[in-house]
Amino acid sequence: MTNEGQAAVYDVVIVGAGPSGAVAAKRLAEEGMSVVCLEQGSYPDYTKLRHSGLEFELTKNQYFATNPNRRKDPSDYPIDVADSEIEPLMWNGVGGSSVIYTAAWHRLKPSDFRVRTVDGIADDWPLSYAELEPFYARVEQDFAVSGVGGDPAYPPGFDIPLPPFPMTAIDRKLSAAHDRLGWHWWPGSNSIATVKHNGLHPCVRRGACAWGCFDGAKASVDRTHWPVCIKLGVKLVQNARVLRVETGSDGLATGVTYIDRESGTTHFQPGRLVIVSANGIGTPRLLLNSASTQHPHGLGNSSGMVGKRLMMHPYGTVTGLFDDFFENWQGPYGQRAYSLEFAETRKDTNFYRGAKWQLMGMGGPLATVGSWPWGSGGNVWGENFHETVRKRFGRSAYWGIMAEDLPSEENMVVLDPNVTDAEGMPAVKVKYKSSQNTLDLLDYNVLRATESMKEAGAYEVSSTPPMRETGWHILGTVRMGNDATDSVVDRFGRSHDVANVFVMDGSVMPTSGAVNPTGTVTALALRNSEAIIANRRSQPVSQTVEARKVGY
């Protein structure tokens, strides 16, 4: 039974209160547009964190687990990963996956926007690095990005607004090693405040970034954006599972239907335009579930590309053991440093594109006998236990190898015909297999990273194959492009088929780059929100909604 009541017609209905949804809500509300955001979860409960005591390692994966299939919060939905080599990770609540990201912050490189032109494979983006650059700079302020500007892996102009973290012993070892090897190395850029900024406290390097920031230093948008959005008048509806984007007889969107997960009641929220920001799995899920007579294969899916070309940055690790004892368990967890030496296509390799390496925190003693980042092989128990802990705790470091993922239509998100979530909405199946290019790329980078660790003084180096629970970056499933026959949205994130539906999240990325994508998806959200503002007078709107607004 639908309880339509007299819901107000908003200028903009946003689905999802994660980074892109928050950036869009803030910018549109600043211009006086009325905005309502529907979020399937609620605010994170930071009182559940136990990060300051010895309970940290035991409890970190309880409430703030990154894998929704393990977390099984009522806001989560089932994801069938039986046919996927990588499991997607996400946070379904206010803040989106910024609540659990490690906050490593990057821009794409200029060549990432021109992969077809440069390498003859995949696709060019319908915009360039230069077009996105000013928006990168603005979101970097809002997200309190800290680090060191002037990285020669980028064109001049990538300035970092906040100062860097201190160098630690392992930073010194690896930077000196890369000096000798002649390879790139740079202090980590992170959306973590190192000084008080935008409502954030200075980071105290607790090293728990990936499980909810205890100290209020990491730029998750529940902290950086939503308080401002609320002050600007944005209405945030929590625990609202959006089932469908509805369309009128004119083919344009009229709003969304959602279920209040607490009361179980169904509502229709009308709006003049709809922005879907539900991540690379949630967004195609919603569009596919919004099929209608006019849109029989899903909303905006005349190209057949909704859900296809899933990219997830396959990830391996290279771990070194050292003789000396140094602090390796404190933060920032996500990246103390990185290397982009091998991030683009080289003439001396048998694969296209490349990988980013990130130097990450190792965790405490319990992590030394776990599978991350060591892999699941090896016998660490019984008579090997204490020697394993001694060798690994305080005497190890690892490079995380993040491979650029090239798009393939075989990798996809589809609706599950047999399983629904608690609200009766179809769940999803993920089909994903790494390409031979990816495997060759990872093999090469693992060999080079092994050289790096050895040059830094590691007496033993080990590596893992691509790891399974590493799908932090869910990209490509609602491809952006100029051609409506092979892409879903245009260069401003507007649906080719439904002119008042926009998509703002990582699903629009035509290629993945080799770096963490939050900087890019939020810069796109800001740019595309400003396009909505600039075009607001010519924006097509469903007459069904206009009539309702006048009547209301």
Binding site: L58, K109, S111, V118, M167, A208, L340, E344, L366
Partner: protein, 142 residues
């Protein structure tokens, strides 16, 4: 079986815990039972991870009361999921002991208030900058 009934399982918990974490004289590290895994640490761990406690007791129920000839193999024979639950909670409990973490020089995840040595950072990155650019120069599209 619940955490309240743990007193019924002392002998089983101690052989399981010591099979996973035995005494190590070379590193002067105590076994799990020596640090009070049964009396003190495991009840605390199970209280912290009450979500894992039912799985823990179910897995434990499949093991014999007394230590078998090859105890570690007996625990592994439970399968990877049950082995993970048991080993994670036993090791997690072991590392709740401050004497153990003290021997390892692990103070927990501390709040650190440090001022970076900006001169050191700049000297380091300037060496990288001197090696030149590390990106493909791509012309803007027409």
């Amino acid at each position: 079986m619940t955490t309240d009934d743990i007193h019924l399982l002392q002998s089983k918990i101690e052989w399981v815990a010591d099979a996973l974490i035995p005494k190590d004289r070379d590193h002067a590290m105590p076994s799990a039972s020596e640090v009070g895994i049964f009396e003190r640490l495991l009840p605390r761990a199970l209280k912290e991870r009450d979500d894992m406690a039912p799985s823990f007791f179910r897995a434990l129920a499949r093991l014999p009361e007394d230590s078998p000839p090859n105890p570690l193999e007996a625990i592994r024979a439970l399968g990877s999921d049950d082995f993970y639950v048991i080993s994670f909670l036993i090791a997690g409990a072991y590392f709740l002991d401050e004497a153990v973490t003290g021997k390892l020089r692990y103070p927990g995840q501390e709040a650190l208030y440090e001022t970076p040595d900006y001169d050191e950072i700049m000297e380091t990155v300037e060496r990288v900058q001197e090696r030149g650019s590390v990106y493909l120069d791509v012309p803007e599209p027409l």
